[in-house]
Symmetry: C2
Subunit: 211 residues, 2 copies
């Protein structure tokens, strides 16, 4: 009974996510989101109590969308080194797509938003921290498999190493956004990451890791 649900809420989530990712939270207005999503302001506030709530919801929605991809990339059926190289491919391809479509390398939406708002809104800080932890769990899992396979030093502190990996990838995405340039990510991120992880590769193997 009653009027059936529409895709309005989803359109707002998608639009907000895209605009905030491409620009910033502060540079995007509720009016701007509504216009792009073809939604009237009254509808906006029917679905979301505030602009900040939409931002948080859009982050949740994007992470929920991302998990199946991470589950695929970090499938235990894959060789653990392939998981990391596939992760970099996945990241690079998305960044390159956006650069082509919007003329702008956009970096990581979670980190960009978190950096902007963490100091003002501790809910968003906690949310992004949780996502960070969630991603590091995939890394830890893969690192343990690498130890089991004798690919890296068995004394590796996997929690620490996972944090290093996350910080390294994050830093590179941030710099790619600021420079609006994917050269480093394309040419060097994979071999640099393998070196950070502590995998021993021949120079010939390293060369193959350019995207």
């Amino acid at each position: 009974m009653g009027r059936p649900p529409t895709n309005t809420k989803l359109r707002l989530l998608e639009t907000a996510h895209e605009l905030i990712w491409r620009n910033s939270y502060g540079a995007v207005s509720v009016d701007g989101i509504c216009e792009k999503a073809n939604v009237k302001k009254g509808s906006f506030y029917h679905y979301f109590p505030s602009k900040a709530d939409l931002a948080i919801a859009s982050i949740d929605w994007w992470m929920t969308n991302t998990i199946p991809f991470l589950d695929d990339i970090f499938s235990p059926s894959r060789h653990p080194m392939d998981r990391f190289t596939l992760l970099i491919d996945f990241i690079y391809e998305k960044q390159e797509d956006m650069r082509i479509e919007f003329g702008q390398v956009c970096g990581c939406p979670f980190i960009t938003l978190g950096s902007e708002l963490a100091a003002q809104d501790e809910i968003i800080g906690a949310k992004i921290s949780a996502i960070t932890q969630q991603k590091m769990n995939y890394y830890e899992n893969a690192l343990r498999d690498m130890i089991a396979m004798g690919l890296i030093d068995e004394n590796t502190d996997v929690k620490l190493k996972a944090e290093e990996i996350y910080a390294f990838i994050t830093g590179n995405m941030m710099l790619a956004r600021i420079k609006n340039d994917l050269k480093f990510m394309k040419k060097s991120l994979k071999p640099s990451l393998m070196n950070l992880i502590g995998v021993d590769l021949t120079p010939a193997d390293l060369k193959k890791l350019t995207i």
Copy 2:
């Protein structure tokens, strides 16, 4: 002849820098900066043509302030490993000071602002990219000394390694800001960085690198 200069412009630069660093560009208003700096709005626009111009000027001013510290830390008279450990000390102490004073780990002001505005304003993107390069030059210089001293592999690509170092430190500062937490930076950043650089250290030496 004429009325002598005052410190009004400097007060605006300092205040803008602090407020934008602690919060974000979008969350800070011209009115807010003026109030905190005890400057009337008319004076603001006497010194700066726009809010964006002030932000750029405050970044320049902060980098100019920072250079003497970097020159000291990266003095060729120091052992190159000490340069990097001192750099981490320098970063950590500033972050800890701000955490105590403002209750917030603030991260890197250049990167935070760059990440927020790079997509909207390419002048600021270019400015932050230049600062990034400037910092990496210090790293490269130290890395070359490390090669000369036989501390790291003589085939190390110093340009690449400097980029890795910068991305790694940047990523860690960003995560510290988002989590509002300096634990990783205090406990693990130094040894992780040494490992990334490729210095061979005994476990005992590594332990000493906690701040």
